[in-house]
């Protein structure tokens, strides 16, 4: 079972292109979903998906980091690496959720905020900081779910919430194991060793009390099974009553 998997194996599962992306979870969990677009400033960054969702009579606002499922989609989604504008878009929807008293559910799945010239020019660091700043002020409940890769500030930017959950085979860390190894040991290839050292699995984070709950995933991992098992708990736990 999951206990038999090494940290690195979990990293690989978390990154697997076969793993469901945020939109697939959203489709599965909610009775209805309407995606809405735009940061109202300059662009509609597709690495961040935002919209309105419902289970029964309860409405939610969704803010999710979205990877592509193939190369074409990944190019469109910037490989799930948000730009400063992505976070601005997220904040816009979160503030609206507060206005209408909707709980917010964020889905974390990114190898990090986009490292690029334009991202720096437009204030990537400030955008991440601003997102956490705004989230911590919101008067509406926020549930954060790490569904795949939760890497660095790019993940934490939408990770400030009242309940933090992690899928059993997701990872959450200060940066990627490759990055960690390369910074500490000047050798990115020691990624497996780094993964162990970093304590990035759901169990590790639960141990640190960084997260509130682990959502179990099936042993024989298949998309459909994963959906069913992971979310039964979510639904029965009545987060909708927040």
């Amino acid at each position: 079972m999951s206990g038999n998997l090494t940290a690195w194996e979990k990293v690989e599962i978390a990154r697997s292109p076969n793993r469901p992306t945020a939109l697939e979870y959203v489709d599965y969990i909610f009775d209805e979903f309407m995606e809405l677009h735009g940061d109202r400033t300059s662009t509609d960054d597709k690495s961040m998906v935002c919209g309105l969702a419902r289970i029964g009579e309860q409405n939610y606002t969704i803010v999710a980091e979205q990877k592509g499922r193939n190369t074409k989609e990944n190019i469109e989604r910037n490989f799930g690496m948000p730009n400063p504008e992505s976070y601005k878009k997220g904040i816009r929807f979160m503030k609206q959720a507060e206005k209408f008293g909707r709980p917010i559910i964020t889905f974390i799945d990114t190898k990090g905020a986009y490292p690029g010239i334009t991202a720096e020019e437009r204030g990537q660091g400030e955008a991440i900081a601003r997102s956490m700043f705004e989230m911590s002020k919101l008067k509406t409940p926020i549930i954060v779910i790490v569904i795949g890769e939760g890497s660095s500030g790019g993940a934490l930017a939408i990770g400030v919430g009242d309940k933090i959950l992690m899928l059993e085979n997701s990872v959450y860390s200060v940066l990627s194991p490759e990055g960690f190894a390369s910074i500490l040991w000047k050798d990115g290839s020691r990624k497996e060793e780094a993964a162990e050292k970093m304590k990035l699995t759901a169990e590790d984070l639960y141990g640190f009390k960084v997260i509130d709950e682990i959502i179990k995933e099936p042993i024989r991992w298949s998309r459909k099974n994963c959906f069913r098992k992971c979310w039964r708990k979510f639904k029965t736990k009545n987060y909708r009553n927040y």
Partner: protein
């Protein structure tokens, strides 16, 4: 402020004087502005005034728009707004003449039609601008009607839905028209404070002082496919920067890409989308 291209597009569905669903037949055929197809008018109306061939969304009269999105016989216009008149601040007699003739021709009293209606049972304050009345331009009466409607939404705690279609501020009322931008924007700010849901729908064309005020302040901003939306007209921009503008500039799709609208909605889906948005915000 109004670009030539916008002026040339025809509006179908001239306003009948009565509120019945029947249209006064003005020729049985109409030519699509985009693909050139000649379409039988009844067919076009059955298809929500959208070209069945190329999906071009014809401009709609305010009344037809109201029929398309509200439940039958549910829309009640604010009668108290019918008799508000412009003071004609620049003292232009020809302005009043033009207004009068437009009123006779369209059966509408001004460029925006406001009231309360139901969308699949959900009550909302609804304002619809009329591009075929003075290019939907905003003078003191339009500004007052919009502001009054926003205040009604606050008072009755109802969602607010505004369909914009406008060339911008009405030049004939000078600075008074300009001030309508501030007046309507402040009203939206109050509605926002009061927690009112405001859905703004940008339709072809939305320009100038309307783009630069209430139209872009919605909690949710929708647009119809292909609608031309902007602040300055394309001709003004081209002359100023001395460059040809890129294809698709200032279209709804262009705005979506640049983060200014939430969603492009086809006319056939508009009623359903509005209903869903109201439900999502309950």
């Amino acid at each position: 402020m109004i670009i030539d291209k916008i002026k040339k597009r025809s509006t179908i569905g001239e306003e009948p004087a009565s509120s019945s669903h029947a249209d006064i037949p003005v020729g049985k055929w109409v030519k699509c502005n985009k693909c050139g197809e000649i379409i039988y008018k009844d067919k076009l109306h059955e298809n929500n005034s959208v070209c069945p061939l190329c999906n071009y969304h014809f401009r709609l009269s305010a009344r037809r728009r109201v029929w398309q999105i509200t439940d039958e016989d549910s829309f009640k216009p604010f009668e108290e707004l019918q008799n508000i008149k412009t003071v004609n601040p620049l003292n232009m007699p020809e302005y009043i003449d033009k207004l009068t003739s437009l009123q006779e021709k369209t059966g509408m009293t001004e460029a925006v039609y406001c009231g309360i209606g139901k969308i699949k049972g959900e009550e909302a304050v609804i304002c619809v601008m009329n591009a075929n009345f003075f290019m939907g331009s905003m003078g003191s009466v339009v500004g007052e009607r919009i502001t009054y409607s926003i205040e009604k939404a606050i008072e009755l705690k109802l969602p607010l839905i505004i369909f914009s279609a406008s060339g911008g501020a009405r030049m004939q009322e000078g600075i008074i028209s300009l001030m309508q931008m501030a007046k309507t924007s402040s009203a939206v700010a109050k509605a926002n404070e009061a927690g009112i849901l405001y859905i703004s729908i940008l339709t072809d064309p939305t320009y100038g002082g309307v783009t630069a005020s209430f139209a872009t302040l919605g909690d949710v901003i929708l647009a119809e496919p292909g609608a031309m939306i902007g602040f300055a007209g394309t001709r003004v921009i081209e002359q100023t920067i001395n460059q040809k503008l890129p294809n698709g500039f200032q279209t709804a799709e262009f705005l979506l890409e640049h983060g200014f609208i939430d969603k492009i909605v086809e006319r056939k889906d508009m009623k359903d989308t509005l209903y869903k948005l109201i439900k999502f915000n309950k």
